[in-house]
Amino acid sequence: MSLVLTQEQSLMKQAASRLLQDHAPVSMQRSLRDMPDSRGYSQDAWQRMVENGWPAILVPEDYDGLNFGHVGMGQIVEEMGRQLSASPLFSTAVLAATVIDDVGDATLKADFLPRIARGEITMALAINESGQFRPNAVETTASLENSAYTVTGQKHCVIDGDGADYYIVSARTSGESTDTSGISLFIVDASQAGIAIKPQRFIDERNYANVEFASVNSGWSLGIEHEGWAALAHVTTVANAHLSAELLGVVQEAFERTLQYLKERKQFGVPIGSFQALQHRAATMWVEIEQCKSIVLAALQALDARDGDVERLVSAAKAKLSSVAELVTCEAIQLHGGIGMTDEFDIGFFIKRARALQTQFGGFHHHADRYATLSGY
């Protein structure tokens, strides 16, 4: 496959960039942060994304989707990274759409996918039970009562968990607490009694919640009972490819702002960008970002191509992007100097968002370890 965007993909990227600059720019991230009862994103911006069909991108055409693929979606997600734009696109149109399309039966697909594509519902993946990313560590239980499952347990760090219409929940239906077998997936209606939502303030000021399910009706079973692990593994791969794409956007923007600052800021009578030590550090960052562009695009292409080695490539991409994000965002603060440490200046938002993206669905070492294991060493 050629590592170049098609014209269609390039155009979509440019259109996304314009829309986000107009309707979900960095400054909006600041205002959302300062309105603590917002749900972390602007309803208006989300509506515009919906109007442009973004939630439909990964949905098959049979279900009112655009079937435009992960490379296409990744371009939008990258631009959201640049503008630090918040929206339920990732939780609903990437994660939930992926799981339902992957293992939902025809009825479930017909019920949910068109509503996702049209932006009518938001859905959140409730699969974490601790700060460590170990989706096999499931202690939430689903027990059969009168041939219906009842879900009980606590989920952590549910992205867009506050105000979601439905949760996709992993629950143990058999096996021991860290077995990969015995995990089942359910779609749970969020409007039921017995669901306690505790919104969490995270450093990137998005919508996160801890969600407690107390004997809640499981709603719909997603995929084969006890065999939810493969779907969890697949959605993890998809998630990390798009987290990498978003990191690519964050890192590029943080770098470009820093580069601009190096040209403008004067010390000792000259622009600090004229100091060779800083030039070499800037050049090193640029080089690393070029490496990132290649591996992110390859990972997204491998998802669309259903490449057998996609999991390994995505772990490589997530690890690479995490380490370059750490480099670039730390350098961005350091090279901005004192002003970079102030809340008043925007650069701090980038290091905080980057760290959240790095961490979700496994950080650098999780993926480096995974890469080594999948490579057979």
Binding site: G131, F202, D204, R265, E326, G338, M341, D343
Partner: protein, 388 residues
């Protein structure tokens, strides 16, 4: 010396409240002192009063000025005996670390009598007015002006990154007293009360959400000429001395977390264990690397301190500042990785009760404040290695 150790041990045993024999949980537990200080507990108050009565808040300062009057060797014993029982510092602030030693070295007798006893007692809390907007690492480009009005100066300008200026009582401040002199010449170090008319301090909010620094505006602030430390127009000498002190202090910060847990233990607890080892071999390797570097740094601080008093190392403060702050940043990166998504929480009610992310973000400033890491590398290259 054996007697001194025995007496000190007995005195501490008798006078240090048990609540003061625990490592600090966070910066909030420090006793900073000052006019507006509210003690967190009777124990904190009693401990300060007792230590002040011995002059041991400033053990080596002259007894005549309220200090402990101890020799370096005795002070070392006091420090060891306090460490032995995990005794907290009774008082900890910029007066003790920085302006006090500078006044003792460069100040007039009048200044010593006025300021030193108040610092020892914790009556006055000091802040530092060095950095200015648009100056950053370039201290010699200082723009705050002090106009000569005979027996006093009138100071106008703006300072940034003044630590806790909103809570401090006096400022030591670099000002330009000769507008025609070049760069480092024509600068003086002056002292003034923050309640002087024309002084206004506004807190700066940091990316970590906290506000340990202020912008301070100086608008026709009157400063008596006898409040100049050292010679007028020769403040650069005093400022260099202070910067060296500041570097060492910042460099020595925070190799252990609040609570003092070694990094390896924290990561082990948080990440889990396989066969007795931290589960993820890559994180374990990063921790070991950091730990070894931190051990070498700890020994280097010790060696430099000892050598300073014996065979002279010189210019070492740039190294300590550089290495200490870079290590502290790496430590926080490792902690963020180890804590996973728990670390993303601002910590207002997090399960660990500790703000991993706030400390991580705050640590990014360590290599900027008190002279950036780049400035320290320049100093080492030019003044130690003579590259230029």
């Amino acid at each position: 010396m054996t007697d001194f150790r025995a007496e000190t041990r007995a005195w501490l045993e008798h006078n240090c409240p048990s609540a003061m024999r625990r490592p600090l949980e966070s910066d909030a537990d420090i006793c900073w002192g000052g006019r507006g200080w509210e003690f967190h507990s009777d124990d904190q108050r009693n401990w300060l009063e007792r230590m002040v009565s011995k002059g041991w808040t400033a053990p080596t300062w002259p007894a005549a000025l309220g200090g402990g009057g101890l020799s370096a060797e005795q002070a070392q014993i006091l420090s060891e005996e306090m460490a032995r029982i995990d005794a907290r510092k009774a008082l900890d602030n910029f007066g003790l670390w920085m302006i006090g030693p500078a006044i003792l070295k460069y100040g007039s007798e009048r200044l010593k009598k006025q300021h030193i006893p108040a610092i020892v007692r914790g009556d006055i809390r000091w802040c530092q007015g060095y950095s200015e907007p648009n100056a950053g690492s370039d201290l010699a480009g200082l723009q705050t002006k002090a106009e000569d009005h005979g027996d006093h100066f009138v100071v106008n300008g703006q300072k940034v990154w003044t630590s806790h200026a909103d809570k401090c009582d006096w400022m030591f401040c670099l000002v330009r007293t000769d507008p025609d002199a070049k760069k480092q010449c024509g600068i003086s170090l002056v002292l003034f009360d923050m309640q002087t008319p024309g002084v206004k301090a506004l807190p700066i909010k940091l990316i970590s959400g906290s506000s340990p620094f202020c912008e301070t505006f100086l608008d026709n602030v009157k400063v008596d000429k006898d409040q100049v430390v050292g010679e007028i127009n020769d403040g650069w000498t005093v400022a260099k001395y202070l910067l060296t002190h500041e570097r060492e202090t910042i460099g020595a910060f925070g190799l252990k977390g609040p609570g003092g847990d070694p990094l390896g233990f924290t990561v082990r607890r948080v990440c889990g264990v396989t066969n007795g080892k931290i589960r993820n071999g890559g994180i374990r390797s990063d921790v070991a690397r950091w730990d070894i570097d931190a051990k070498a740094f700890e020994l280097t601080m010790q060696r430099v301190n000892e050598a300073n008093s014996m065979q002279g190392v010189g210019n070492a403060s740039a190294m300590l500042k550089l290495v200490g702050t870079e290590l502290n940043k790496r430590r926080h990166e490792i902690l963020m990785e180890a804590h996973g998504t728990d670390a993303l929480n601002w910590g207002d009610g997090s399960p660990n009760g500790r703000a991993v992310a706030r400390d991580w973000l705050r640590s990014k400033g360590n290599s900027i404040e008190g002279g950036t890491s780049e400035i320290q590398l320049n100093i080492i290259a030019k003044h130690i290695l003579r590259l230029g």
